[in-house]
């Protein structure tokens, strides 16, 4: 029970933000909560938020772990393009669904391995190391698709983009399953603590016998794997691999989701659930702006302002002020008080 309370306290700001954003949208667009069932699949704006948010949510899972180690992975958007291209190529070449999926996932793991080796063994700063693949990745993807947009019409593959299982769109199921699985692995094993230890103090962790290098590589590989899943979904969704545009700028949304989720870019304590809610917040903002009918040129500006407000509310200074205010009020009321470290 206390564990649940702790979790709730941790993700409360994100939940409140999400509620505010959704509330705002539903005021501007009264039909927001309408959900309908057609052809055995759910439709409606809330479903759309989950569905469209799935790729960023997947990226955010890997990104959270990478950021928790004090690193960053700028390459995930490009890795999405590579894996999408591999998936499209495999299916058009007639390798069959399962081998194609395995090849795409393996490509993601290989990209993560490359990043991890650069960071952990060559000691290159993560932002620079992953920038290499961010730039080169789209070139690699173009080589795979031979410069064209590689389209396919394989039902099994399309299922991962626009199919549904028990009325729920497949991307949502993949994102939720991956989130649950990674959370389970990380928190049921000691991985979570060891990753946090590395992010807080790399040298001290090494001296305590933590296998810091191997863990770093594993974390970047996880990020690559998550990007591969996102890439498969994106390619399946448009029934083709677009090397230039698949996953474009999504690495920034993923980083933003982690930051909104309250994990420090300096590394350390992380929460996967909070990052997933962060991804939902971003998608809700995107969807909301589209629905509210603002001219499209305002979209990016409005998104930036909303995100600025979210981040200001989370900044340590504002939090200290808020904590101080609530402590003062609680003291006055003689209720439980929050301890503010001096």
């Amino acid at each position: 029970m206390t564990g649940f309370k702790l979790l709730l306290r941790r993700i409360l700001p994100q939940l409140i933000t999400l509620a505010l954003v959704v509330g705002l949208i539903s005021i501007m667009f009264p039909g927001f909560f309408e959900i309908s069932l057609a052809n055995g699949r759910l439709y409606g704006s809330p479903v759309d938020i989950f569905n469209r948010g799935a790729p960023v949510a997947l990226l955010a899972i890997g990104m959270t772990l990478v950021i928790a180690t004090g690193g960053i992975d700028l390459s995930v958007g490009a890795v999405m393009a590579i894996c999408g291209a591999v998936a499209a190529w495999g299916i058009t070449e007639g390798y069959g669904l399962l081998p194609t999926l395995l090849m795409a996932l393996a490509a993601g793991l290989a990209c993560g391995l490359w990043n991890g080796l650069l960071v952990a063994f060559l000691g290159i700063q993560p932002i620079v190391a992953t920038l290499i693949l961010m730039v080169a990745g789209r070139g690699i993807a173009q080589l795979i698709t031979e410069g064209a947009i590689l389209t396919f019409n394989h039902e099994g593959m399309i299922f991962f983009g626009s199919g549904s299982l028990l009325t729920v769109p497949t991307p949502i199921i993949i994102a939720i399953l991956t989130g649950a699985l990674v959370t389970l692995i990380v928190r049921r094993s000691a991985l979570g603590m060891l990753i946090e230890a590395i992010g807080i103090n790399f040298r001290a962790s090494t001296l305590a016998g933590v296998n810091t290098r191997v863990l770093l590589v594993a974390v970047y590989m996880t990020s690559g794997l998550c990007a591969a899943l996102a890439g498969i979904i994106a390619a399946a969704d448009i029934r083709g691999a677009d090397a230039n545009n698949a996953g474009l700028w999504l690495e920034l949304d993923a980083i933003l989701a982690v930051v909104i989720g309250g994990t420090s870019l300096l590394g350390g304590r992380f929460s996967l659930i909070a990052s997933l809610i962060g991804a939902l917040i971003i998608q809700a903002v995107n969807t909301g702006i589209l629905l509210s009918g603002f001219p499209p040129e305002f979209n990016l500006i409005i998104k930036a302002v909303i995100i600025l407000i979210i981040l200001v509310l989370q900044s340590p200074r504002v939090r200290t002020v808020l904590a101080f205010l609530s402590t003062a009020r609680a003291d006055a009321a003689g209720q439980e008080k929050k301890v503010v470290e001096p």
């Binding site: 049921r188 000691a190 230890a197 807080i200 103090n201 001296l207």
Partner: protein, 508 residues
């Protein structure tokens, strides 16, 4: 003080106090500096040298005491403020802008202007003129980083003198200079001294202290040990001031003699690493405490790091119970049953944001592997057990360890290794920067562990402490193990003499 008592000191600090949570960093320290004097400031890590400097330059606000400059009380609120009073500081890492030209660095913030524009010609001319006073004839239009650290050091000094002009503080200026460059720097220091500046010189190279300083002040554990005229003190007495107590105590010999029965548990032969520590031989029995004595930078920490695999040894071999053992990484060392509490707890030891429980479980968890997580219940029991046994002062096991005091953090570090049940534990300065109570507890713990059959290697700059618990003491100097003392030989006097030896060996 024979020299200058008649005159009013240029800079006079009286009873300066600085308190950090959990420790008193400076406890009523007096310090005086005359015009035309080089005054050396000495002490081990954590003695309070840099805290004192930071109080003088306003980088820290002091918690008590007065600072008088030319007899007038000052209260610098920051380094710029101190500069305006006339106190300039030059640090070991030159804090100038490497990508700007030498002239720009010298005149930054005070550039000569013409019609509102910076006059490059006037700036360069002035820079050349200033540097010529220091015997530097260099191209001032080239960027700062195109010159050696020594030249950069002189340029930093020139800038500090130009802006301040009364007091110059040199914080370890010679740490990365070679002998020739040190000589060049000392020529500059001497000429500034003749111009009437008061110079505070911080260094842990004793030879340099004796060469350049007129007086010296020694700090230890935040307290003033004494101020002496350099010409009237010898090396042995100086080291005694830094490490030991007074010489009368030196006859206090060690009570227990370790019965070196049986084969040693660990044998290191020809163990060393180029540039870190010269190859040494060392054997350690079960239940034995080996003390390591030496000055800062002598190679004592390097000894520990080579043994624990932090720095790979490039010569020699290690044997454990007669069988060869590989020690090329901390993980291998831990596998062999080693543990290591490093000197710098903050950067090398605790994981500040993790809880006391997680910090204690970390090494054991790392050894078991990530897949087999130690259940929360066990972790909690383990943590609470050691919180009680070592008297760690924390509200509960879930408190982030960074919020505890230094002594309690040290105990958490000890607990981290004790739960792994090591056979050989290396402690680097286990009692530094912690309060008196915790100090005594840690010494008691060392004796207890060794009674239980654990082997320990303890590095300490508190020689009295080493006398109290060591069965043997290794003395380290100039990155070499120079002496091994055992039994009755373990006295502070013998240690000090071994550390100071160069003076007597100077003949050959």
């Amino acid at each position: 003080m024979p020299h200058g008592d008649a005159r009013q000191p240029l800079l006079h600090a009286r009873g300066v106090r600085k308190i950090f949570p959990g420790t008193i960093a400076l406890d009523g320290v007096d310090f005086s500096l005359h015009a035309g004097e080089v005054h050396a400031l000495l002490g081990e890590n954590g003695a309070g040298k840099s805290t004192l400097i930071k109080c003088l330059t306003g980088a820290y606000r002091r918690d008590g005491g007065d600072i008088l400059l030319d007899g007038e009380s000052i209260d610098p609120k920051g380094t710029l403020d101190a500069q305006a009073y006339g106190i300039g500081t030059v640090y070991q890492e030159v804090n100038l802008l490497p990508n700007l030209s030498v002239a720009e660095n010298l005149s930054l913030g005070h550039q000569p202007t013409r019609f509102g524009m910076i006059s490059v010609r006037a700036m360069n001319a002035r820079a050349r003129e200033v540097l010529s006073q220091y015997g530097l004839d260099i191209d001032v239009t080239r960027t700062l980083d195109s010159y050696s650290v020594a030249v950069q050091q002189v340029i930093a000094i020139a800038r500090a003198v130009m802006l301040s002009g009364k007091v110059l503080i040199l914080d370890e200026p010679t740490a990365s200079l070679d002998a020739h460059e040190v000589k060049m720097l000392f020529d500059v220091v001497r000429s500034l001294k003749e111009r009437g500046l008061g110079i505070v010189f911080i260094s842990h190279f004793l030879d340099q202290i004796f060469e350049i300083s007129d007086r010296l002040t020694v700090l230890r554990n935040g307290q003033l040990v004494g101020t002496e005229v350099t010409a009237e003190i010898d090396r042995v007495r100086l080291i005694n001031m830094m490490l030991g107590r007074e010489l009368e105590h030196e006859t206090r010999a060690h009570g227990k003699l370790h019965e070196a029965a049986g084969d040693p548990r660990l044998v290191f032969s020809g163990f060393g690493r180029k540039g870190r520590i010269e190859p040494f031989d060392l054997s350690i029995h079960a239940g034995e405490v080996i003390g390591v004595a030496g000055l800062l930078g002598s190679g004592r920490t390097e000894t520990a790091e080579v043994l624990f695999g932090v720095a790979h040894h490039d010569s020699g071999e290690a044997r454990q119970d007669g069988a060869p053992v590989s020690l090329m990484s901390p993980r291998q060392a831990i596998k062999a049953g080693f543990g290591f509490c490093p000197e710098d707890r903050k950067t090398d030891g605790v994981i500040a944001d993790l809880s006391v429980r997680e910090n204690i479980a970390l090494a054991l968890q790392a050894r078991i592997g990530w897949m087999r997580r130690i259940p929360d219940r066990e972790q909690k029991a383990m943590a609470n057990d050691y919180i009680r046994k070592l008297d760690i002062r924390t509200p509960d096991a879930e408190k982030p360890v960074g919020l505890l005091s230094g002594g309690n953090q040290q105990k958490v570090m000890l607990a981290r290794w004790l739960v792994t049940n090591p056979s050989f534990l290396i402690l680097d300065e286990p009692t530094r920067g912690i309060d008196v109570g915790a100090h005594a507890e840690i010494i008691r713990l060392i004796e207890e562990l060794c009674a239980q059959g654990m082997s320990l290697l303890v590095i300490s700059s508190e020689l009295d402490e080493l006398v109290a618990y060591s069965h043997r003491v290794i003395v380290v100097r100039d990155r070499r193990h120079v002496a091994e003392l055992a039994g009755d030989q373990i006295t502070t006097g013998n240690m000090v003499r071994a550390i100071a030896a160069p003076e007597r060996e100077a003949v050959n």
